[in-house]
Amino acid sequence: MSKIHLTINGLPVEADKGMTIVDAAKIVNITIPTLCHLNIHDIKMVNRTASCRVCLVEVKGRRNLAPACATEVVEGMEVRTDTLRAVKARRTMVELLLSDHPTDCLVCERNQNCQLQKIAAELGIRKIKYEGVRSNHTKDSTSDALYRNPDKCIKCRRCETMCNEVQTVGIYSAVQKGFETIVSPAFGLPMVDTQCVYCGQCTQVCPTAALTEVSHIAKVWEVLADEDLHVVVQTAPSIRVTLGEKYDMPPGEDVTGKMVAALRRLGFDKVFDTNFGADVTIVEEANEFIERLKNGGRMPILTSCCPSWVKFIEHQFPNLIDIPSSCKSPHMILGVLSKTYYAEKYNIDPKKIIMVSIMPCIAKKYEVTREELTNNGLRNVDHVITTRELIGMLSEAGIDFKNLPDEEFDNPLGISTGAADIFGTTGGVIEAALRTAYEWMTDRELENVDFHSVRGMDGLKEASVDINGMEVKIGVAHGLGNARELLKAIEKGQAHYHAIEIMACPGGCIDGGGQPYHMGDIELVKARAAGLYKIDKGKTLRKSHTNPDVIKLYKEYLGEIGGHRAHELLHTHFKVREKI
């Protein structure tokens, strides 16, 4: 690659062609503040609206200051970030943003975690210089999942780029003009009336608290305080490798033991593992797959563990609505089992059982409100809180997470195999299903259970596996834009797969909308995935159908895999939805 030579604040820099001034400055350890700019290469999220202008620098020979995030370096360029004019201009831009921003940082959900707050602190802004007319827009919590507070929006339009280009759902656009401009859904509709799938990826990239989850912390405190209720909790596969980040542990570190201990201290009566539900999902799904294959059913089968992805297909691909597996998602399966199998076994009134799910996910808040996900008149899961909300609860309760002892999940819904652990990352669900389907179809033990070709961050992945002389073709997509591509090809009859895994979030649940904010650092997400594969590798049991408690569950309670009772409790259906 040809090199470009320039100077920044008098220092000589050798940069690559196509680099921006911001990136070139990093080479000589100069940080230029940025706010709207975001480039997450691995997931093709590039926001170059250059709207905030907090990155202004002087370029010799140019009359106007240049936005460093959007200006490419050229040979011989002389850049100054440190002139009074540049410093003042950057300050003014931030001051202008603050003039129309609520000043309630003290009670804001992004307090100490907000990029606007950070930049104001870094530039040493000590007073609000311009008192503008402050906007007062309607706050939207209609979906009970995604919370929109347009007053905190700085119009960087990162959410728009994420939703329109990466996820291709297309919810947001800048509307109106001038001071009135806001970033809004079509026709100013409340979120609940849009085709938003609540993946929450927009909350991951929003620099402020303009987009967050609807908090359900208060509801959880309330049930915990009620002596009359039997409150149980479950944790998704991915939480154990992301929770430690808040407590300065390396990303991807397995904190299962401490997490279980922490939940007991919060007052939950039983701490169960969604992973048990994941193992059940796999035996049901693998069974469904084999049945469809044998009986000439519609191919490919699609995984159905991700409620965002399910909602996406319901809105966008009505004619493919019969191809996802009818299996409920793992936490719903665990939820219904807690109110039937567990309740009966321990003689607890199911009406008194409250199931709380700790999820990486915002969509699961919406999922639990779906009417069909009830049995015997009870919701399968009552409340969902995200990893971020759990962190909030732990700090409220004053729990010293780092120094907790390791504890174990409760029986009978606490044991899981390595196949369940990898559910939290892209490729994991299909790998888990393959391990089981392979052994069932061939009656042979699968010695090497690692399917490397379905792992990693490539948006679309493929594998083919020889099962009984038949080439079984597998597809994997993560991020809904990639999923759309795959589904379009299937619709047109151009892609032929037997089984496909789709997760709405780029990278899978480890990068879920409810996970600790990654602030654009995708290496963090990769470390989380590596953490899950490490847990899997360390387990003796790595195939779902070998989980002794799952075997017991079918023997004692459910009967046959894919049988009548299993269907009644563990399966569901989908419906076509409007497209706005």
């Binding site: 329109n164 297309g170 919810i171 509307v175 109106q176 003009k177 079509a186 026709f187 409007e578």
Partner: protein
């Protein structure tokens, strides 16, 4: 997909117009202009129709429709009557004039008459306070309007209207 709650025939025409364009995706503004001409305004369903036809998010269409003040999402009558409600006009009884127009044009709610012929608008001071109260009809300024003048103003509009129609007829002949 759901039914559109607008004139199906016009919608079909709009569809044909879009299909006739070579690079429809690049012509959103042009399409919106055409649609507004057909429907008189841009109802939500028309915007949805355009979005689906072009395969772009409805939010984008709405974004463009709200950016240009030329576009409107509320129906406009064929004739626009704007009553100034600036301070000077107001103290001179502009509100009574609005009332009178409402009564005579049979506008119960909103700003448009039932037959779609008239829009009754209010505007802020137009800088003609000496003429207060001021009414602007299709761009023409009427000053020192009294409630009793309202009937004559409406008659004026209607006369223009039939004159126009005659003109059209003559042209056809």
């Amino acid at each position: 997909m759901g039914e559109y709650k607008v004139d199906a025939e016009k919608l079909k025409k709009l569809g044909d117009f879009i299909e006739g364009l070579e690079y429809a995706e690049g012509e959103l503004i042009n399409i919106l202009r055409e649609a507004q001409e057909m429907f008189g305004y841009l109802p939500m369903d028309v915007q949805l129709f355009i979005a689906r036809k072009l395969g772009i998010p409805a939010a984008k269409v709405y974004g463009v429709a709200t950016f240009y003040s030329y576009f409107t999402m509320t129906p406009r009558g064929k004739h626009v009557i704007s009553v100034c409600l600036g301070t000077a006009c107001f103290v001179k009884g502009a509100d009574r004039i609005v009332e009178e127009f409402r009564k005579q044009l049979n506008i119960k709610e909103g700003t448009i008459s039932e037959d779609g012929m008239y829009t009754l608008d209010s505007i802020r001071c137009v800088g003609a306070c000496g003429l207060a109260p001021v009414v602007i009809v299709d761009g023409k300024v009427h000053g020192r309007v009294k409630p009793e003048d309202v009937a004559a103003i409406i008659r004026g509009i209607n006369e223009d209207e039939s004159g126009e129609q005659m003109l059209v007829k003559q042209n056809v002949q």
